[in-house]
């Protein structure tokens, strides 16, 4: 259960000694591995990513914008190219050999991603354009069938606009209301509010991010899921960051819906997955109409194809699905737990140096073990855009802005932050480059 003292305990620890923040902390979810994972062979992995090996503005590229999108390994690029070169055809439509092969690869990719999610039934895996489309699908389809005046949707102030605006749209259409969990000074969800809000008995669905893209916070999804379910509501998990940066098992997480994107986990853009429990998906009306999603079509009415095709109108992103399957193959080959541990060791390394910089303001949990590979910060009176321009001049790519989380920026009273985000191919030397370039910022803004 949520410990109401937690926030204050953390805050006071933070003031006395940032290094000793070991208070009774609800375990972030998914649970960090108990067995130590072997360190990544980063130098070998880097060879798989052609885009990393280039100079930007006369300096070797340091790519620290992974929360926005990841680079792609040759294994993914080869899978996409191989499909177009040898098997390209439309799926489910032709009787000919290429169509058979394309369909097999496309449906094989679905099975592959199902395994990645810990899902037995591949028909529960629906291809989308990405997280945003998956959440819009649930909001529009499930929402129109299940929401009405007086009903509530539970969100939080750390949600990406993708997990906020679709709910605003459906709330307006149905008369439902939105409720929000606050975010603490430490960048965690104010868990005691979960019970308070659920106690009203009006929440039909909670939609929360597994990992904050702006702060890196690993949210205790399992704990929240149990409370949401006890109140008779459903849980949608925004897995855009979670699937890329933490081990995922949708059943262990306690999710009812799980949406994520290929491009954040070494796969191509334009492809993503919505997973949902079969009985929920089967009870939902179609989201888009067209080819692929029908069974029998008459002038006034049609009947729908069974799952997953009900929600896949039109020619799908076949190459994208194949590329995404290659990406999850790659990630599982490396090991999601090892990737998270690697990111956390980079975060710890970065935080230790950044805390020494005069004028730094850091956002997010104190402890690297409470976050994935994201570090958000401000430096003196240099605006994040200026920081980003200066870093770019030295080959260091970070993100500056509101990170599609304007509620969170408002919560902290800032318009924007600078954000460095790490992935499996980043190194300590790159963190050093980041810190050195921040010294340039300090010099220029002295």
């Amino acid at each position: 259960m949520g410990n109401p003292d937690r926030v204050d305990a953390l805050a006071s620890t933070a003031i006395s000694s940032p290094a000793s923040g070991q208070v009774a902390n609800p375990r972030p979810d998914p649970v960090p591995p108990l067995d130590p994972v072997p360190p990544l062979d980063v130098e070998r992995l880097r060879k798989d990513f052609p885009a990393l090996h280039q100079e930007v503005n006369g300096h070797p590229l340091v790519y620290l914008d992974n929360a926005a999108t990841s680079q792609k390994p040759v294994q993914v690029l080869d899978a996409i190219r191989g499909y177009y070169e040898a098997d390209n055809a439309n799926v489910h439509r032709g009787i000919h050999e290429l169509s058979r092969r394309a369909t097999e690869a496309y449906e094989g990719a679905r099975q592959r991603v199902a395994r990645f999610l810990g899902v037995e039934d591949p028909a529960e895996v629906i291809w989308t354009r990405g997280t945003t489309e998956g959440i819009n699908l649930v909001a529009a389809s499930w929402g129109s069938a299940n929401l009405g005046p007086g009903d509530e949707i539970l969100l939080s102030d750390m949600e990406h606009h993708s997990n906020l605006v679709p709910w605003q749209l459906i709330a307006r259409r149905t008369g439902a209301a939105l409720r929000f969990l606050d975010v603490t000074d430490q960048g965690t969800l104010r868990l005691e509010q979960v019970d308070e809000i659920l106690a009203g008995g009006r929440v039909r669905l909670a939609a929360l991010t597994q990992v904050s893209n702006a702060l890196g916070t690993l949210n205790p999804i399992r704990e929240i899921a149990d409370r949401v379910h006890a109140a008779g509501a459903l849980l949608l998990v925004d897995g855009a960051q979670g699937a890329a940066h933490a081990p995922v098992d949708v059943h262990a997480l306690g999710a009812d819906f799980y949406a994520f994107s290929g491009h954040k986990l070494c796969g191509p853009t334009g492809i993503g997955v919505l997973w949902g429990r079969r009985e929920l998906l089967e009870a939902m009306p179609p989201y888009m109409g067209g080819g692929e999603m029908i069974s029998l079509v008459e002038r006034d009415m049609s009947t729908w194809a069974p799952l997953p095709h009900t929600f896949e109108a039109g020619t799908p992103n076949i190459a994208g699905a194949i590329g995404m399957a290659a990406a999850v193959d790659y990630l599982e080959g490396v090991g999601p737990a090892a990737i998270l541990a690697h990111e956390q060791s980079l975060v710890a390394y970065a935080l230790a140096q950044l805390r020494e910089l005069p004028g730094i303001r850091l956002f997010g949990p104190e402890e690297a073990s409470d976050r994935a590979g994201v570090v958000s910060f401000l430096l003196g009176d240099a605006h994040p855009h200026d920081i980003s321009t200066i870093l770019d001049a030295e080959g260091v790519a970070i993100r500056a802005g509101h990170h599609c989380t304007q509620l969170l920026m408002r919560r902290y009273g800032v318009a924007a932050t600078a954000r460095a985000s790490f992935y499996l191919y980043n190194t300590r030397e790159e963190v050093d480059r980041l810190v050195r370039s921040l010294e340039t910022v300090r010099t220029l803004f002295a």
């Binding site: 855009h385 200066i390 802005g401």
Partner: protein, 152 residues
């Protein structure tokens, strides 16, 4: 390719001075034009107010949030157009825009005064829109001050 020289020309003293001590920052109680502009991709914001009397910008104020380039450019712009005929202000806007697009002649135009410090921004294409935000607001405000379109 960006060099250190280009960086230090981007963040030279005059620009940081306007960023830290913006001129004409605040609010006019009465204004002929009141424009709010926002760059949705980066979140930079500007509110620009003009008081126009007999074709002359008699007073101007701005408020804003954003990077040093956007806020310094807006500050420099207000310093230059205050007291200027509207036509002159628009002339400054078009010469400054030309400078942002790399026109060397515009960069040598002394009438741009402090704004010339921003010439280096032209080498940073993604930042040009920051520098132009204030002028976009100025053009919008001048239109507003001219009153509703007469439909001619």
């Amino acid at each position: 390719m960006t060099t250190d020289v280009q960086l230090s020309s981007l963040y030279q003293h005059l620009i940081l001075d306007h960023y830290r001590k913006p001129r004409n920052k605040g609010e006019l109680q009465e204004a002929t034009a009141d424009v709010h502009m926002r760059n949705p991709t980066c979140g930079d914001e500007i509110r620009l107010q003009l008081q126009v009397e007999d074709g002359v910008i008699s007073d101007v104020r701005f408020q804003g949030e954003g990077c040093s380039i956007s806020q310094a450019a807006a500050s420099m712009m207000t310093a230059l157009v205050k007291g200027a005929p509207v036509a002159d202000a628009l002339g400054i806007a078009s010469r400054f825009t030309a400078m942002m697009h790399g026109d060397p002649e515009a960069a040598g135009d002394r009438t741009l005064k402090d704004l010339r410090a921003l010439a280096g921004v032209a080498r940073f294409p993604v930042r040009v829109k920051c520098a132009l935000l204030g002028f976009d607001a100025l053009q919008e405000a001048v239109k507003q001050a001219a009153g509703p379109d007469t439909g001619t």
